[in-house]
Symmetry: none
Subunit: 525 residues, 2 copies
């Protein structure tokens, strides 16, 4: 472990907001900023006040909140070519944000000076120099982002280094080397940062994008070569393929490289932080996200599950609790009997590994998975399967039959109707209902038939309904798998059905969903 | 660029299948294997024949397919402690797979020998030695996966190296160094591989997991240090956080490191390959997936879009077409009518960008997309939509109505029947048919009603049928999107339907599928 500290600079609210699908309101930004502060991140880049009036509103509001420790930073470009800093709206907007720290980005790649700014190389140097000096003279701490530094270094090394020189001479506190297009390889980053480290006196930072899937590795290589300031975003959100992901970088830096980043007791809030930001950003959570994903410490392979029971270090690179995550064992045909056993243990059914019952259940499970059942997301059906198989379940009702009709009338009107006949507590119930589509009609009819016998069914509702065609090549005769998620005030459970007939597959999942609710109740859960 | 070739070894079907949420049928595995072969991957690890009877079924079936170039590989462990190889069921199952190449994994970490195998260090060496030698003597090419090699090297360097020595002495062709727990840092991998490269004569391979978000970088570091065999999976699927992602590794190795991996003309199929495997695996596609994600070359920030219009190199690290992806601009004025226009141009309908027709179609499309239609995979429906809207389509038939009945009888028998009434060429056709499920019955009835009028419909068949629930939270009343893929001898086309009623959504897609076939014919296509 190499000693020392690394200063983290979060740009979720600025660069992260450039991700496709993200659009933060001012209140979203305030919520995230407060959470980042509580987590212990020292710098929070809040936005680009020159780009949008909404940005200044955020800075005005965040000033009134009492952050525990973080510095909020305003971000903007160097002045425009041939314009004075005092008349440049972008530079002036930076001052209006009233932050103690300001980040200025400038072009370090001659291609961009010629093709995008369409000015001379010398004028670009003056733009950097004057903008940094102006802000420093107004009492600001200035961080200089050398945009496209690595591409610029490759194209015109002398010029790229000159942009750093002038920013340093003008009083920038930190020079941040950017791989803006995310195209550079890890060894290139390591070598170039090492060279620059010899040439400048200021603090050095790194800002990389993930277009080559190397953003985390490249940030670590930069730290190893002398950067002490690291920029990134929560969950790696950002333009195109995103930025360096702090959710991976923080545990790597702190736990594996021994660099102090955040107070030690905060690390176990990492999983929460990742999910909170995903939620506010309205982005799907990656189940296999390193460190914090639901699958990150989930063991499925039989050999793995077996070994994990013997020694947790065998298939885990670290203790999941350190980052607020947890270990899970998955049920599957690949998991061997051990997985089944664990589940049975959880249910306190008390069988040993070698017992004939365990083997029988395991075999049954393999057959069902072969037919397309998949119990990972259907614990409800799995428990019912065990209970039925072990004859520990007295059925709550029996099906006599159902008939579902979908009719499209000549006027274009669609009608879906389901009739169902059940045996319940010695009575025969015959109910009929309409619905939005055949499955909804069947759902309504089932509840109608049962409601007088099991009034608590009114407490539960379906929260998710998924359909997957298993052998698409068979066209409309293909087998389908239906997964239903249900919940009541106490818990949530998944159930499954598989059939060539989507109505039948849905029926199986529906029936299990209701029966599991009744089973839970019987057990007083 | 460093010259030379790298041999890719794909383990999507074995290690990838360990990912939470993935459960491949034999037919899924065959489809993926054929696609990997066509893409040019030289090794396809097909499964672990000793773990599950389903695995041997795959090997039996893939032998009968004519792969273009790939070697299918069987995977399994060394023999059990204190058992002879000839009596070890796992080793014998490896032979039953009848592959020319076999991968054997053995323990390289003393902790695993003590805690998991619960045998002596010497016996573990004999297990490796005897298993490899036995298979080599039976004419197999043997690849030895040194499981947990890097953790083992750190814990007991001498022993970890000994496991390689015995495998080499027994005739293994390639020694694969595994970071099974995914906990190692890039510089550690680079240094250790470099040391091992000096010590062994055989080919060296690398197999790493992504628990530290470094799998891609670590694989590249290993190649730089002397590995010429690289293991990974499509989309990085695998246990916990997954394996090294070939979708990122392949373009990095081939385009940035100059290593030959796949035939040059295949690289542009990379995006297709990634999406195909995601689809068959029923895994969500990552929009910000490096190289192949929809957002990977999507420009959102105003500065970026503006610069990109001036020079494409400014914010792209490479040309997206090289990997079969494309550039997108996320500002609606740019993305909107331009896209529609491109499509209209393709169909040679001859409208200009500003024309009222183009605007009207654009608006209609926006409304439909808002309702859940999604024409990217449904060109058939898109063309019919345009043709209907522009009144360039004389309908081939008109629907009077249909009725679909699914009945579950008291004896458990399921019957699906569809009756359909159509107007065709001034006649009224009324047909009824049964099927495997309601949609298949409707499909059969539709064909029965049309067959005398349009005999060429017998030439077409459905090749794919997909169902997506759009607003899962509404449970059984949720809206569903049905996508159907059809083909005849000349081409393949996709059609779509959206409704709360799955029968209605399927009907829309079915009807479009048939109508598009008839439209093609009318045009002489």
């Amino acid at each position: 472990m190499s000693a020392g500290a690394v200063t983290l600079y979060d740009t979720t609210l600025r660069d992260g907001a450039q991700a496709e699908g993200i659009s933060y309101s001012v209140s979203d930004k305030l919520r995230i900023a407060e959470r980042l502060d509580a987590f212990g991140l020292p710098y929070i880049e809040g936005g680009w006040p020159g780009s949008n009036p909404k940005e200044l509103e955020f800075f005005a509001k965040i000033r009134k909140r009492r952050l525990q420790q973080a510095q909020v930073v305003a971000f903007g470009s160097t002045r425009h070519p041939m314009k004075s800093v005092t008349r440049d709206a972008n530079v002036q907007a930076l001052l209006k944000a009233e932050t103690a720290v300001i980040t200025v980005f400038g072009k370090a790649w001659d291609l961009h000076v010629h093709e995008v700014l369409r000015t001379s190389l010398d004028e670009n140097l003056r733009m950097i120099e004057e903008t940094v000096r102006y802000l420093v003279q107004r009492g600001k701490i200035v961080i200089f982002d050398a945009e496209h530094f690595f591409d610029g270094y490759q194209a015109n090394q002398t010029y790229a280094l000159k942009t750093l020189d002038v920013a340093q001479a003008a009083g920038a506190e930190t020079l941040v080397l950017c791989d803006t297009n995310g195209g550079r390889l890890t060894d290139e980053i390591h070598q170039i940062v090492g060279t620059v480290r010899q040439l400048v006196r200021t603090l050095l930072g790194i800002h990389v994008h993930n277009d080559s899937d190397l953003a985390v590795a490249n940030s670590i290589a930069a730290v190893n070569a002398g950067c002490t300031h690291v920029q990134g975003t929560i969950n790696g959100y950002g333009e195109r393929c995103g930025n360096a992901d702090f959710i991976s970088l923080i545990p790597l830096l702190q736990l594996k490289l021994g660099k102090r980043c955040v107070p030690e007791d905060r690390l176990k809030l990492l999983t929460d932080l990742s999910r909170f930001v995903a939620e506010v950003s309205n982005m799907a959570v990656r189940t296999n996200h390193p460190f914090v994903g639901e699958s990150a410490f989930a063991h499925k392979g039989g050999v793995h599950v077996n070994a994990m029971l013997k020694h947790p270090k065998t298939y885990e690179h670290m203790d999941p609790h350190l980052v607020g995550n947890q270990r899970r064992f998955l049920i599957s045909e690949l998991g061997g009997t051990t997985g089944v056993l664990l589940k049975i243990k959880e249910l306190e059914m008390g069988f040993s590994k070698g017992s004939p019952t365990t083997r029988k259940i395991h075999k049954l499970l393999q057959q069902l998975e072969h037919r397309g059942y998949h119990f990972e997301a259907a614990e409800g059906s799995f428990e019912l399967l065990l209970a039925r198989h072990l004859k520990r379940l007295k059925p709550f009702f029996g099906l006599e039959g159902f008939r579902v009709i979908v009719e499209k009338r000549p006027n274009g009107r669609l009608v879906s109707e389901a009739a169902i006949k059940l045996r319940v507590q010695k009575a025969v119930e015959h109910a009929v209902a309409e619905g939005d589509g055949p499955v909804n009609a069947l759902d309504n009819a089932l509840r109608k038939a049962l409601k007088d016998f099991y009034p608590t069914l009114a407490e539960m509702h379906l929260t998710d309904f998924k359909v997957r065609v298993l052998d698409e090549k068979r066209g409309t005769a293909a087998k389908v798998r239906v997964l239903i998620q249900s919940q009541d005030a106490k818990s949530s459970w998944g159930t499954i059905g598989v059939s060539e007939n989507i109505i039948e597959a849905s029926w199986q999942a529906l029936m299990d969903s209701v029966e599991y609710k009744l089973l839970k109740e019987q057990r007083g859960q």
